[in-house]
């Protein structure tokens, strides 16, 4: 690595040194607790639509915790956060727009 890269890596390491170790244990505990809630809901025989909404909401919160704290994105510069998250969310929204109306059409109208 050239001197710039080394300096940037050193700065990233210095950032990490300031984070409390207990924070990671709290995040891990929260992730396990949310997983336990998901499994509990499975045993309650809920209506599929309602259950899917709750499970997806919990999954998004879990994903945000992993990306933010474990993957350290919360502490990156705002440019990095916006470029990475906006690009992937935009692609997933496009997939949703293309796929799901068609999937529902097949379900209700049949394959023509």
């Amino acid at each position: 690595m050239d001197s710039t890269q080394v300096a940037l890596a050193e700065r990233a390491a210095e950032e990490q040194r300031h984070h409390s170790k207990s924070l990671f244990f709290y995040v891990w505990g929260a992730l396990l607790a949310m997983t336990a809630i998901e499994v509990y809901l499975t045993y309650q025989n809920m209506q599929p639509g309602k259950m899917l909404t709750i499970l997806l909401a919990l999954s998004i919160v879990k994903a945000a915790l992993i990306i933010g704290y474990f993957m350290h994105l919360k502490y990156e510069v705002s440019r990095m956060k916006w470029v990475t998250m906006c690009s992937v969310v935009a692609c997933l929204i496009l997939m949703t727009i293309f796929f799901f109306p068609d999937a529902f059409r097949i379900l209700y109208l049949g394959v023509k």
Binding site: M1, D2, S3, T4, Q5, A7, L8, A9, R11, A12, A13, E14, E15, Q16, R17, H19, K21, F24, F25, W28, L31, L32, T35, E38, V39, L41, T42, Y43, N45, M51, L52, L55, L56, S59, K62, A63, I66, I67, F70, M71, Y75, E76, V77, S78, R79, M80, V83, T84, S87, V88, C91, L92, M95, T96, F99, F100, D102, A103, I106, L107
Partner: protein
């Protein structure tokens, strides 16, 4: 890190656009592209589920408990990975290696449980045409029926979870290289040989074990061309990959397992 603090690093090049080193940006770009791969697979599974009447719900209580333990393994591995990164920035080489090995152990636990679950499903009759037949296996009518009436279930289930299992396996190998460097190559070869000899040829994992051999060859070439001692930036980048694998499972577990559960 404040944006304004980025420009005080002396450099022969322009300041980094994203305020961090290139390896990390490279890994983030790879992970973004990989998230679209998994996104496409998850969408394919969901599309199949919505558009197919009579979508099977083959995961009974035993499978749910198994998948929950697998999830706990992955979440714990993410915690040990964070602790490995922290040990690396504190320049505590021994703790770094130990935490990396703990992460690998959790990853291996996940793979073993997942492999056991796949084998159970295949034995019961939920299979793909490419999988070899299991001699003497007593098929469960429920699963045989699923394979015949809704073949897209087995295709999307094995495709999605198989892709994830491959990522976890490669992640364990990646961490093994970062933790042990050249010492990991004979371990990997021994693992491949053990897998090849001990797993019966009727299991897809018998052929899947070639991943370990191919990885050993690739790693040998890489370490021969560029031998190095991995520093904290390498551990952090490896950690990004590992957390991503965990992240993807946070969607597979509810969408595939919990939404297709049949609790009796």
């Amino acid at each position: 890190m404040a944006d304004s603090a980025l420009h005080d690093i002396p450099s022969v090049y322009e300041p980094s656009l994203f305020g961090t080193y290139s390896k990390k940006i490279g890994m983030w770009l790879f992970l973004l592209s990989d998230s679209l791969t998994f996104g496409a697979l998850l969408y394919a599974y969901s599309y199949g589920r919505i558009s197919t009447a009579g979508w099977p719900t083959p995961f009974h209580s035993e499978s749910i408990v198994n998948a929950t333990i697998m999830t706990a393994f992955l979440l714990t591995s993410s915690l040990t990975m964070v602790l490995a990164v922290r040990a690396s920035v504190e320049r505590n080489a021994k703790a770094q290696t130990l935490w990396l090995l703990a992460t690998m152990a959790c990853g291996i636990g996940f793979i073993v449980l997942h492999g056991r679950e796949w084998s159970n499903l295949i034995e019961k009759g939920l299979s793909l045409p490419m999988f070899p037949a299991v001699p003497g296996a007593v098929a469960d009518p429920e699963f045989v029926n699923v394979s015949k009436t809704v073949p897209q279930f087995a295709a999307t289930f094995f495709g999605l979870t198989g892709m994830h299992m491959l990522h976890v396996t490669l992640g364990v190998i990646y961490l093994g290289v970062v933790a042990l460097r050249r010492k990991f190559i004979p371990i990997l070869l021994a693992l491949w040989l053990a897998a090849w000899l001990l797993i019966p040829s009727t299991s897809p994992f018998h052929y899947g074990s070639y991943v370990l051999l191919i990885a050993a060859i690739v790693i040998s070439i890489i370490l021969w061309l560029k031998p190095k001692v991995y520093d904290s930036s390498d551990v952090e980048v490896a950690g990004l990959y590992w957390h991503f694998v965990d992240l993807v499972w946070m969607f597979i577990f509810p969408l595939v397992y919990l939404m297709s559960a049949k609790i009796l």
